[in-house]
């Protein structure tokens, strides 16, 4: 009985300590690392938000229809530290997003690599989420 209570407390403390990670959910909770995808499309909406940012791009599918995709990236702090600022993109810009499809099949990808309109390639991934090439503030580099 006492041991069980002790374990409960230890569990509760462990969970309490784990709360800072709420800034981001893990990669594998939502996305499939076996399903990489490249989206090229016009930026239709920007959500520069915690705990994740979202960029919405309009992409033509195989039937020639325009489909709006949500691209999930790290929060404002992590993106800024990699040299990606909110002002670097505006609606109508063309973005190239290399990411991974959602397990659910929803029109959402994990934006691992974002090619900005000025040619810079930034790591869009959420730090510490355990996804492919899990970045820790990788600096922005030039494409090509």
């Amino acid at each position: 009985m006492k041991v069980r209570i002790g374990l409960g407390i230890a569990g509760a403390i462990a969970l309490a300590l784990a709360v800072p990670a709420q800034a981001h959910h893990s990669f594998s909770a939502m996305f499939d690392s076996a399903k990489p995808v490249r989206l090229v499309g016009k930026l239709t909406k920007i959500e520069w938000t915690n705990p994740h940012s979202y960029f919405y791009v309009e992409v033509k599918n195989s039937r020639g229809e325009l489909v709006n995709w949500a691209c999930e990236g790290a929060g404002p702090g992590a993106l800024s530290r990699r040299g990606f600022k909110k002002g670097d993109i505006k609606l109508g810009d063309t973005l190239i997003v290399d990411g991974y499809l959602a397990k659910s099949g929803a029109k959402i990808v994990d934006a691992r690599r974002v090619t900005l309109p000025d040619g810079r390639v930034v790591n869009g991934g959420t730090p510490g989420d355990g996804g492919p090439g899990d970045p820790t503030a990788a600096p922005a580099g030039k494409a090509g």
Binding site: G8, A12, A16, Q22, G77
Partner: protein, 165 residues
């Protein structure tokens, strides 16, 4: 249409200046998350201390009445930090997460855990002063303490799972 009134209110909250600034901030959001953890630790930690004392697991030579008196100020400070930071974090993400199963579960669990606290302070605590140091607390008090430990652990677990659902 109570549902649309609620969703309109959530939308207004989400789009209002302070929650928007917090949502788009580089530093404030993680800082407030940290305050939330510290508040939860202070509150749930001191509550657990009282519960474990009632159950006879810790502070065996100290009566629960004394433990309650000792730690209650810290419990209240933790509660204040947790509720203020939690409200801010909810407001900043409200429109995205108000339909989240684990958020709703957390609110229900908080309500039950809160009722358990009220029961403790309105009934058990009134008799606690008279408890003997050598005889174990009544079974009702021990059941309430065990329920408290379980409920706060579940509140924390549900809160943690909001991000994974």
């Amino acid at each position: 249409m109570p549902m649309s009134i609620l969703s309109n209110a959530i939308h207004a909250l989400y789009e209002s200046p302070l929650p928007t600034a917090l949502r788009e901030s580089e530093y404030a959001f993680p800082v407030i998350q940290t305050i939330h953890v510290l508040g939860v630790a202070a509150m749930a930690g001191t509550i657990a201390l009282v519960d474990l004392n009632v159950l006879g697991v810790v502070l065996r030579r100290q009566r629960p009445a004394r433990t309650v008196a000792d730690v209650l100020p810290i419990t209240w400070i933790g509660f204040a930090l947790a509720i203020l930071s939690g409200t801010a974090l909810f407001a900043a993400q409200s429109e995205k997460i108000w339909g989240n199963t684990f958020l709703q579960l957390k609110f229900v669990l908080l309500l039950i855990a809160g009722l358990n606290v009220i029961v403790f302070h309105t009934t058990t605590r009134k008799t606690i002063e008279g408890w003997s140091e050598t005889v174990a607390p009544p079974i009702s008090a021990r059941a309430s303490a065990a329920a408290s430990l379980l409920l706060w652990a579940l509140v924390i677990a549900a809160g943690r799972y909001i991000a994974y659902y």
